[in-house]
């Protein structure tokens, strides 16, 4: 399924890329701070609110605490898009415009609805917890933060449960 990308080390992709990612996360802590993505979303809301309704923006304690977009994490998120684009140029086959990740019957319209709803839930959950896969699971656990371990436990409990549930309802009985 996944093809080798880096010079053959005899190591599977997950291991070689995982080691490099771990070193990138460490470099980030040396250069400016731990990696994190989900905080950029409410900062975007904050910037919009400061233009559209400055009084509300100044009165919302969460928007005030999250601050503005001019910070390394915002550029990191822009970098993710560029990195994804660059990674894809090394594929002989372009990524599918849309993937139907659940087994069994589905449709593009259903997939878009699910992706939107899923996006809502991951951001709401991440902001409640104070971070997402990058800020709590990867850089949180890397720094041995208890919050990272607790969050990861919650994510995989319902993540695995939801994935199995989607399979069960679509394939019918399991």
């Amino acid at each position: 399924m996944s093809t080798a990308t880096l010079p053959k080390t005899g190591m599977p992709n997950w291991a070689s890329l995982g080691i490099i990612f771990g070193l990138v996360g460490t470099a980030s802590i040396v250069l400016f701070g731990p990696i994190g993505v989900s905080g950029t979303y409410p900062r975007l809301i904050g910037e919009a609110a400061r233009v559209l309704d400055p009084a509300y923006a100044a009165s919302n304690p969460y928007l005030v605490r999250m601050g503005g977009l001019l910070r390394p994490e915002t550029f990191l998120v822009i970098g993710l898009v560029i990195g994804g684009f660059l990674g894809a140029t090394r594929d002989t086959v372009r990524a599918a415009k849309i993937e139907l990740p659940h087994v069994g019957a589905s449709s593009n319209a259903r997939r878009y609805t699910e992706a939107f709803l899923a996006g809502f839930l991951i951001l709401f959950g991440a902001r409640l917890a104070g971070g997402c896969t990058s800020g709590l699971i990867i850089s949180g656990m890397q720094q041995l933060s208890i919050a990272g371990f607790v969050f990861a436990g919650g994510v995989f409990a319902t993540g695995i449960g939801t994935a199995k549930f989607m399979q069960a309802i679509r394939v019918g009985g399991k």
């Binding site: 996944s2 992709n13 997950w14 890329l17 995982g18 080691i19 490099i20 990612f21 990138v24 460490t26 802590i29 250069l31 993505v37 989900s38 809301i45 919302n60 969460y62 390394p72 915002t74 970098g79 993710l80 994804g84 660059l86 849309i98 993937e99 992706a115 939107f116 709803l117 899923a118 996006g119 809502f120 839930l121 991951i122 951001l123 959950g125 902001r127 409640l128 917890a129 104070g130 997402c132 990058s134 800020g135 709590l136 699971i137 850089s139 949180g140 720094q143 041995l144 933060s145 208890i146 919050a147 969050f151 919650g154 994510v155 319902t158 695995i160 449960g161 939801t162 994935a163 199995k164």
Partner: protein, 178 residues
């Protein structure tokens, strides 16, 4: 300069996430159905290497590190994780991988990002009324494993990091389907 470093780190992350296929919802769902563990093993390897590397550096050049430990407000962190997991299992994206997916040209990634913006908006609107009381429950502050075990951080970093690496080495990547 920090902003430029952020951009470089983001490009590296995006590239690696794309190459390991973590931006593919199909691959994420295979992992969450426990049919293929490649991404879970990738994440565990990343965490293990990262914790050993950062706490080894901390022994020699502690002043060079910008640690930022997130607070453990137990109820909110766990509840947030449980909600996040439902979205992760439903859509196969996380807040970062959908940005990588957009870079790759995935159309469904735009919907995930759009849902995320709306989710962040609703979160902001209900923050004072509904969220603040939750995040103030059982707030233990910025606690870490080393605080709990009362040992220098390098000790739990080496123990947990090694455990993770042994587990990913032992676990199969492609799990046989029953």
């Amino acid at each position: 300069m920090a902003n430029f470093y952020g951009l470089l780190v983001g490009i590296a992350m995006g590239f690696l996430i794309q190459r390991v296929r973590a931006s593919s919802p199909v691959v994420i769902l295979q992992n969450l159905r426990l049919e293929n563990l490649g991404i879970i093993k990738f994440m565990a390897t990343t965490i293990a290497v990262g914790m050993i590397a950062v706490y080894t550096l901390n022994v020699f050049v502690p002043q060079a590190l910008h640690f930022d430990i997130k607070p453990t407000y137990l109820v909110g962190v766990l509840l947030g994780g449980l909600i996040f997991g439902v979205g992760f299992g439903l859509g196969g994206y996380c807040p970062g991988t959908c940005m990588v997916g957009i870079g790759e040209g995935r159309k469904d990634a735009w919907f995930a990002m759009g849902g995320g913006v709306v989710g962040a908006l609703v979160f902001t609107l209900v923050y004072t009324a509904a969220i603040k009381p939750i995040v103030e429950l059982m707030d233990y502050g910025k606690i870490t494993v080393q605080d709990l075990v009362h040992l220098p951080a390098i000790v739990p970093a080496l123990v947990i990091g090694t455990m993770f690496l042994v587990v990913v080495k032992v676990l199969p990547t492609q799990v046989k389907r029953a």
